[in-house]
Structure formats: C-alpha cells, structure tokens
C-alpha cells in the first residue's frame, strides 16, 4: 500500500512556520535565563597578552567574564570527523580559550555572561584585550611558498589524491587539449538563523538547546569535550533556521555555552551575532582549481587532470573534496585529482552546500564547454558522448539517468537550434546567452546504523520518533509520509516526533543523506510494528484473520485485511482493545550497505540557464533556469522541488554574487554582514523550472538519493557558460563581478 509517499502534501510543520509559532533555539524561554556574548580575537595570529575585564564586570547586570585564565580545561579534544559518521564531530580540532594562543581572527578570547542580552553584548565591548601580533597567512597568495599535498581529507576519511592511468602521457598525446585555471572566493553559509545554544545544568546533567543539523553530533562532541557520560547530555532542537553545512559540525561556542552555564549556575543562552557567524561556523575556503582535458577530435575524453589548492587552518587538513565527480562522471582512462593545502590563520573551513563538488563540477563543466567550442560539438552532445556507463572500478551505477536529464532538460529549455556563436543575440542594451552543464553528486554512505521507534495507540493513531531535526528539508513531513504508508494509516493519524537525543538515534542530516536514512529507519520501525500486529492477529483465534499467512495481509486505513479478500480483516484498534493493549511499539533500524558495494554512487542531473549581460556595465541577470534531476525516489515532489530550486539559486548566487575577501594586513574578512556579503534577493531570482527523471535504485535506502546538494551542482557552470555565450569572454573567477564582466575600455 502506498498512498502518502510521492504525494505533494503540505509540510506538517507549515502552520507553526507561518504563524510564528515555531520555536527556534534562541527562542526557548527558561526561568533564570542568562545571556552570553562572545568576544572574538581582533588579530589573526599571536597571543593574548592581557585581559582586563574590570570595565565589563562593572557594567550593569554582568555575572561573569570567562577567559583562558579562568575557563576550565576541556576533558579531551575529539578528532575532526564529519558528523554523518555518527561520532563526535567538532568543526575543528582546536578548542579556544585553553591558552593565550590566537590562531584566527574572531577566535573566542572571552565570554561575558549577563542578566540580559543587551547587558551581555555591551559588556563584551568593554572587555579590554591586549594582543601580541605575530605574522599571519590568511590568503592563498600569502602562502604560495608553503603549499603541500594533502594526504588525507575529511578527517582522514578520503585520500587527497586520486589517480589512474598515465595522465602525463595521455595529455601530451591528446589531439585536443583544454587547460584552464579558476579562482574562487570564500563563501559563507549565512543561514538566516545565526547559530545559538541554550545550556541548562541540573544535577550534573546537561540539556542543550542547539541550532544544529545533528543533535547526536552535538551530544557526542560536548560530552567528549566536557568528559561527561553520554547519558548526562541531552540535546533538543525543534526548528533550525537553515544550515547549509554551517550547523553540520559542533563548533566551540556550543560547548562554551555549557561551560558558561556551569560557571554561573544558571541557564545560559549564547546566540552568535551575524558578524560572528563569519568566523564561528566554518566557511567554504578560498580556493583555486586547475583542469586539463585531453580529447580526441571526435570529442572523446582521454585524460583529465584536476588540481585544487586551498587554504585551511593551522590545525586541520581540511579541504572540500573537489574531484569526486570529475573522476567518475565521464568515461576517461587517465585521471589525476590532487588536493593541495596551505595552512593559514583562518578557522577550519567546513561543509558548505554542495561541498567540494559544486566548485569541482564548475571547473569540469566550464572546461567541457570550452572543449565543445574547440571541437564544434554541441555541449549537450559532448556530455552524452562521454558519460560513463559505470564508475572507474567498472561497477554499474546504482541508478543513472544522466542522459535522460540532459535530453529532457534540452527539450524543456528549448536548447535545440541554439546558435552557438558568442555575442550573437542582443535585446536592447543586453546580450543574451544560454549555457548548460551536467550535474552529479556523490551519494554519501558512511553513516552508522539508524534507528526509529513507532507506536500505535488503541484508537488507531500513531507516533513515530527519531532523533533527527528539521532545518528546512521537510524531513518531518516525509518521515510522516513514510510512516503512514508503512503502518497503513492515513497521514492525519500519524504524528512524527524528532529533535531530541532521548529518541532513537540517527546521524546528522548532511550530505543529502537526511531524508534517505531517516526514512529508512522510520520505514523499518513502522514495518516492524505492522508485522507484529499482523502476527498477533493471525495468531488470535478471535480475529477474522486467524490462521492467515501474514504475507497475505496488508493494511489500509488502519485495517488489516486479506489482500485478495479485503472484506476479511479487522482494525488495529479492534485487535488492541481485545488484547487490552493501550499501545504497542517497535524499534526498527537500518544499516547502510557496506562501503565496498559493487555499485557506482552518483546522483545525476542537468542544468540550463539563460542570462542577459549588459557588457557596458558588467551586469548579469539570469532570465530563466531549467534543472532536471534523477534523485531516485521522490517522497514528496512539492518539497523536493523547493529544495532543488533552492540549490539552483545557490548556484546562481555562487556564480554571480557570493564571495568574501581577506584583508590580509589585518587578517580579517572584508565583509561580515548581509549588506556587503551578497546573497540573492527576490529580484535576482527568475522563474525556475525543475523536472524529475525517474530512476529506480535498490542500493540506496528506499531508493532515495537525496536532493539537498544536486540542485546546486552544475548551476553555476551553466550560468557562467551562458555568460560566455553572451559575451564571448571566458571569465576565470567567481563571483562574476561587474569589473570582470564589463567589456574592457576600448583603449586598452
């Protein structure tokens, strides 16, 4: 039975969200609540020589000023690991305020706790910190003499190098070669809700309200840092105001809030300011990528060399892995992907939507556009010609769909008949261009067992629980749909509960894996419960189903009945009342397939964009976008579409608007607010078409490959390729700011 899954039902939390009733972390009200404010280091490197807290302590309402001199030592520093792994997941392997060292501007050097938000913020401005400044490196340009090749990435999970064949020779012998290098400015997530944590201690036990994409990660990380039994740390998160990777890891402020609450003996709310988010929850690192494509004259790729150089912190070899798609998407014998790093004075960068691959694919797909022009082959056709039928190990894709996405996208967009000549279409002051890109994103699979619990009451209603959290993906809604179908209940009869580590555990909802793994666990729990009730019925002499084969029974509207004789059966409620069961429940779990599953694991899509460029003024306006995706099973097309549209807008934004520069003299970011760090506003966004290509996948959980990242991947490349088509100029930096896009002065 399958009535809720696949339907475009409204979000189950929509009423809470449109009425203001949804409570986010900084809105939790507790008796005796106090407020903490962080003082961030002004220098990027050096030491705190002295802290004079006297003015702050004298200010009204101040309860405490914590610094490295009086903050207790942490019990232990967990390793940096992605939160999806299900272990402790600090965003960086450095915890501040343990000594006087300063490694990046904005690093917490003091924490003020006061009776009110206003008092804490003001007193933070009164903490006088004296620094000894030491030389710093905060940009790639400053660190070119200390580049090294990363051995492992992602907390050691992934190799920094990926190679096969003989790239050197293959490129040298290739009849056609494309070589290009790109510079990408740093990006900041800017989730609209700044991270916040409220910490409460009671009888040695800690409750944290935290705006996180992984309550379990928060629990494990804070317990490790503070040396607490896991049973003594509970994390509650009902609504999160966007994550995009910034809340995928447990950053130092979370634990600092707990330490402050212990110090003052009262609940503490620590909400970061917008400016502090630029130095508190990671970022997409400044990076350069270079790519060399070797191809035959008829457009077959023979070799790809893809290198990335980026800047990381002093303490972690962190880089977004950028070659997971370029190494697999196309059928190419010789490949070399390398990640190089510079250690600098920034915090450890982190996952940012479409981590790594969104820029890796930008590099690949822009080069593919160049190759198409070089060869005189249509860009769509060039992709079709090279799409790999299996992954580099020869394993078939768990599911594919790229060719269908490319063809359907071209049709919906009206690609055919496109005049490929650049600068050929004009509309008044605007040059019009179109561009496309293939999209692919790895399916992440390294989470541990995921669990959920399902309970049915004697009135036939149900509660399903798991420790995930809602940050905009709609997980509460799709989990409700999955549970309703598995239990054979109407959607309205099922309530889904999440957001509490006391519930059965799931991993952080990152890497587009959230909906799939949560759904799989919920499905397992609900199925187990239904099977138990069916078994009870067929074993019960008083049941109309007595003696039936359980496999011949299905459930609809809460009524178990014989599949081929639906008139024979009874409701859950009748059975349970007869057995004096007020409720009954089951826990279910799902374990991901082994990492060495003999399948290639990529989600595929295709992106198309039309832009208008004012070449005098350097303005780019995106007129329309079409994205076609094959994300496996779509539990709720309405919500999936929203997430894909969001991803495509992130790609547009990455191409045209987003970037931050370091002032290397001060070692501080140039922009730290939404007035100067530009994210798109309503007027930037055109109408966007999203289409799905159906593919069946029996490797990934419930056939779901996820929609969180794939919408973004390829979108920036499609826009940039359209800008080339409009202007005839290939621009090798992002964002495509006016000074890059405008035609150079005639004289130069």
């Amino acid at each position: 039975m399958n009535t809720a899954i696949g339907r475009p039902v409204d979000r189950v939390d929509s009423q809470a969200k449109v009425t203001g009733g949804a409570r986010y972390t900084a809105e939790i009200s507790l008796p005796g609540l106090t407020y903490a404010a962080v003082v961030g280091a002004r220098i990027p490197s050096g030491r705190v020589e002295a802290v004079d807290a006297s003015r702050a302590l004298a200010a009204g309402g101040v309860l405490a000023v914590l610094t490295h001199e009086n903050l207790p030592e942490i019990a232990g520093q967990p390793h940096l690991l992605p939160s999806l792994l299900g272990a402790a997941a600090p965003g960086q392997s450095f915890f501040p305020m343990q000594d006087a060292a300063v490694h990046y501007a904005g690093q917490p050097v003091a924490l003020v706790v006061a009776e009110s938000h206003e008092q804490a913020q003001y007193a933070a401005s009164l903490v006088d910190v004296t620094y000894r400044r030491e030389p710093s490196i905060t940009s790639i340009d400053e660190g070119r003499d200390r580049v090294y090749e990363a051995q492992r990435l992602f907390g050691g999970l992934m190799p920094g190098r990926d190679e096969r064949g003989d790239v050197e020779t293959a490129l040298a012998e290739a009849p056609v070669r494309i070589e290009a290098g790109y510079r990408f400015a740093a990006n900041h997530h800017n989730a609209l809700e700044p991270p916040a944590t409220t910490a409460v201690w009671q009888d040695g036990r800690l409750t944290l309200y935290d705006s996180t994409m992984g309550i379990r990660a928060t629990q494990l990380t804070v317990a490790h840092l503070l040396g607490l039994p896991l049973s003594h740390v509970r994390v509650i998160t009902h609504f999160v105001g966007g994550g995009f990777g910034s809340k995928a890891m447990t950053w130092p402020h979370v634990t600092l809030a707990a330490m402050a609450a212990r110090h003052v003996g009262r609940p503490v709310r620590l909400a970061l300011t917008r400016a502090q988010t630029y130095t508190s929850n990671g970022h997409r690192e400044e990076q350069e990528q270079s790519i060399s494509l070797g191809a035959t004259r008829d457009g077959r790729l023979t070799a790809i060399r893809h290198h990335k150089l980026s800047i990381t912190s002093r303490f972690d070899d962190w880089a977004e892995p950028a070659t997971g798609v370029s190494s697999q998407l196309y059928d190419v014998e010789h490949y070399e992907g390398v990640h190089s790093l510079i250690q600098g004075n920034t915090m450890t960068p982190t996952f940012t939507r479409g981590p790594g691959e969104t820029l890796g694919v930008f590099t690949l797909e822009t080069a593919m556009d160049e190759l198409a022009y070089e060869l005189g082959v249509d860009p769509v056709e060039l992709r079709l010609r090279n799409h790999a039928g299996a992954d580099p190990r020869g394993n078939p894709w768990s599911s594919d769909g790229l060719a269908e996405c490319l063809r359907l996208g071209a049709e919906r967009f009206g690609w055919h008949g496109r005049d490929p000549r650049p600068r050929a279409r004009r509309d008044g002051d605007w040059l019009i261009g179109t561009g496309m890109a293939a999209a692919a994103y790895p399916v992440a699979f390294f989470m541990p067992e995921q669990r959920a619990r399902a309970r049915v009451y004697e009135d036939g209603s149900a509660v399903v629980q798991t420790g995930t959290q809602e940050f905009g993906t709609g997980v509460l809604t799709v989990a409700t749909q999955v549970a309703a179908d598995a239990l054979g209940l109407p959607l309205e009869s099922v309530r889904f509960e999440a957001g509490d580590t006391d519930l059965p555990n799931t991993s952080a909802a990152v890497g587009s894996a959230g909906a799939g793994m949560v759904s799989a666990a919920v499905h397992a729990a609900a199925t187990a419960l239904r099977d138990r009730l069916v078994a009870m019925a067929v074993a019960d002499a008083a049941s109309p189903l007595h003696g039936a084969d359980p496999a011949a029974v299905d459930v609809a509207d809460g009524r178990m009945r014989l599949r081929d004789r639906p008139g024979t059966g009874e409701s859950y409620a009748d059975l349970m009342i007869r057995h004096r069961l007020a409720d009954t429940e089951a826990v279910g779990s799902w374990t991901p397939p082994p990492l060495d599953t003999p399948h290639g694991l990529l989600t595929f899509g295709a992106q198309f964009a039309e832009v208008a460029v004012d070449p005098d003024l350097g303005l780019v306006r995106v007129r329309r976008m079409v994205g076609v995706f094959a994300p496996g099973r779509v539990l709720n097309p309405k919500l999936a579409r929203s997430q894909l549209v969001g991803g495509m807008v992130w790609g547009l934004s990455q191409a045209l608007l987003e970037g931050n520069e370091m002032d290397t003299r001060h070692g501080r970011w140039g922009a730290s607010n939404l007035g100067e760090y530009l994210v798109p506003v309503n007027a930037d966004i055109p109408e966007i078409t999203v289409e799905f290509v159906e593919v069946e996948d029996d490797v990934v959980p419930l056939g779901i490959k996820g929609v969180g990242e794939i919408g973004q991947v390829g979108a920036a490349a499609a826009v940039a390729n359209a800008v080339f088509h409009a202007t005839g100029r290939r621009l090798r930096r992002l964002p495509l700011a006016a000074e890059l896009v405008m035609d150079p002065p005639a004289s130069s």
């Binding site: 409204d10 979000r11 939390d13 929509s14 009423q15 809470a16 969200k17 449109v18 009425t19 203001g20 009733g21 949804a22 409570r23 986010y24 900084a26 809105e27 009200s29 009204g60 009110s116 938000h117 206003e118 800017n190 989730a191 609209l192 809700e193 700044p194 609504f239 999160v240 105001g241 966007g242 994550g243 995009f244 909400a271 300011t273 917008r274 940050f471 905009g472 993906t473 709609g474 309405k638 919500l639 579409r641 929203s642 997430q643 549209v645 969001g646 807008v649 992130w650 607010n673 939404l674 007035g675 994210v679 798109p680 506003v681 309503n682 007027a683 966004i685 109408e687 966007i688």
Partner: protein, 178 residues
Amino acid sequence: MGIDLTAEAASRHQAPTVRGPSEEPVVLTINGTHHTVGLEPRVSLLDALRDRLGLTGSKKGCDQGTCGACTVWVDGRRVLACLTLAIACEGRQVTTIEGLAADGEPHPMQRAFVEHDAFQCGYCTPGQIMSAIALIEEGNAETDEDIAEFMSGNICRCAAYPGIRQAIKDVRDARERP
C-alpha cells in the same frame, strides 16, 4: 514657511522627560493588546517582543537592517523591529505575525504560503508574510517586477522566492475577484 522658534517655544508645555538609561515601565500596544513591560531604552522592539513578551514570531537574522526577518508593522507600515527602539513605539500600534489570524482563522497570505511551499526552514517566513500583506496594501503588487522588487528587503536563504511571489499573486488576485 519655516520654523518660528519663538512662537513654538511659547506654546511649549514643559521640559521633556529623560527616561532611562536604567529599566523603566514602557507601555506597548502589540496586536491590539496593551503590555506594560520593564525596559531599558536601548532595548530594540525586536528584543522586547522576543525576550520580554514571548512573541518570538519576529525573527532576528542580522540585527542590522539587512535581512528583513524582523519585519513588523508599526502604525500599519512595515518596518524593521531590529532598528526600532521599543520605547519609541509607545503610543503606536505594533502588529506582529502573531496578530494576523482573525478569530483563529489564518490570514489568506499564511494559507497561500503553505500552498505554494513558500518557505523551507521557516525562519524568514514571518517577515516575508508581514511584508507580503503590506505589499498588497501599499499597491506595490501590481506587476511581477514590482512584487520581486518590493519583496527584496526580505532575504530567504533557502531561496523560496518563486513560491513567495506566487503566493502573493494568488492573494492579490483573490482580493480583486470579490
């Protein structure tokens, strides 16, 4: 024209009272209800609503006038609560997202946002809705271009912009069809 300082001074009643900087009672009218709340003058309307009155529907996204998440109406006009001092709202009518539902019935704009999935994480949503209703009242919802432009003071990082525009058009059109 111009200001006649002498004439004006003659009509003056008494020297204005300086209030604060410490906490004192402030009378606010929120969604038609009077509240007397102890506030320092430096407290923003946004923090007064969220931290003192339990009205957390208005959101703090930037606290510096760059995101629109705190949009409320003061005397019927949409403004930013983060750049408004609460004490300056004495004698003015403040309307927040919590004041929209009439007799428990959601406002048509709230229903339209649900129908068009005009949000994801929901954090910007109350501000979007307060802006969206005001937009129609202002007469700035006539064209698609106007809607996009006059809604540009409300950032949605989840990027539900197409859905937001569609919700507004639906409500606008329903009003025009009596």
